[in-house]
């Protein structure tokens, strides 16, 4: 029985890609494949200029949903390590929002595991984005059908 090392963090602190990558790789000669995804703040979203982005979440539930997602991924693919970091609070263009990294003996498992976590995170983890434009007006983002469609392929 494989034991997957899972690490989940939610908070306002930034993350460092090399630190997360090293945590996937250190003392790890089992895994030939590492895939990771980083989500970042764009300066243009759905045609609207973005000055800043506020990320609200549901403390407690976010951590538990991300933990479950990591466990589900580890149950479906041979992943030895899974790391998820999601930031909350006020962010600006080019800031990092989310890190999902997995390691596996197998390349396709690593790609699928990382894509699965991101797709389901997008539709089930209780985070909400509110964008503020250069003129100071704010808007809550609407969920996108394209994200629902991507998540449904893993059902």
């Amino acid at each position: 029985m494989r034991t997957t090392a899972i690490d989940v963090r939610v908070g306002s602190d930034d993350f460092n890609v090399q630190v997360e990558y090293d945590a996937l790789c250190s003392h790890n000669t089992d895994d030939g494949a590492v895939v990771f995804f980083v989500g970042r703040v764009r300066d243009l979203n759905e045609g609207e200029a973005v000055h800043s982005l506020h990320l609200e979440h549901y403390p407690g539930m976010t951590e538990s949903v991300l933990q479950q997602l990591a466990e589900q991924a580890a149950g479906r693919w041979p992943l030895n390590r899974v790391r998820i970091v999601h930031r909350v609070g006020d962010l600006h263009p080019a800031d990092q929002i989310v890190f999902v990294g997995v390691s596996s003996p197998h390349r396709q498992a690593a790609f699928d595991g990382a894509a699965f976590v991101m797709d389901v995170l997008k539709t089930e983890a209780p985070f909400w984005k509110k964008e503020t434009g250069p003129d100071g007006t704010s808007r809550w983002l609407d969920a996108r059908q394209s994200d629902t469609t991507l998540a449904e392929r893993w059902r």
């Binding site: 609200e56 949903v65 089930e124 809550w140 969920a143």
Partner: protein, 84 residues
């Protein structure tokens, strides 16, 4: 007297209602449908916001059916999520 049911609102819904959480006596909200009826009856001005597309979590687990509620349960109502 038993513990109440706690209701939390997030994001756009929280802003529209102007409330982030409230407690309701467990006796009057035996299930999620009853909870929604109670909210609209007690706060008619909330009806438009509560009729929008919302997600529901009970004790921090997403649910899409009308589950029974127990004293001390934590219910959360919020718009579809947009993280990641």
């Amino acid at each position: 007297m038993s513990e109440p049911v706690q209701v939390k609102f997030f994001a756009r819904l929280r802003e529209e209602l102007g409330v982030s959480s409230l407690n309701i006596p467990a006796e009057v909200v035996p299930d999620l449908d009853a909870l929604l009826d109670w909210l609209v009856k007690a706060h008619p001005q909330w009806q438009p916001a509560l009729q929008g597309k919302l997600m529901t979590a009970v004790n921090q687990s997403m649910t899409s059916s009308n589950v029974a509620l127990q004293p001390g349960d934590e219910v959360a109502l919020f718009p579809p999520v947009t993280g990641g």
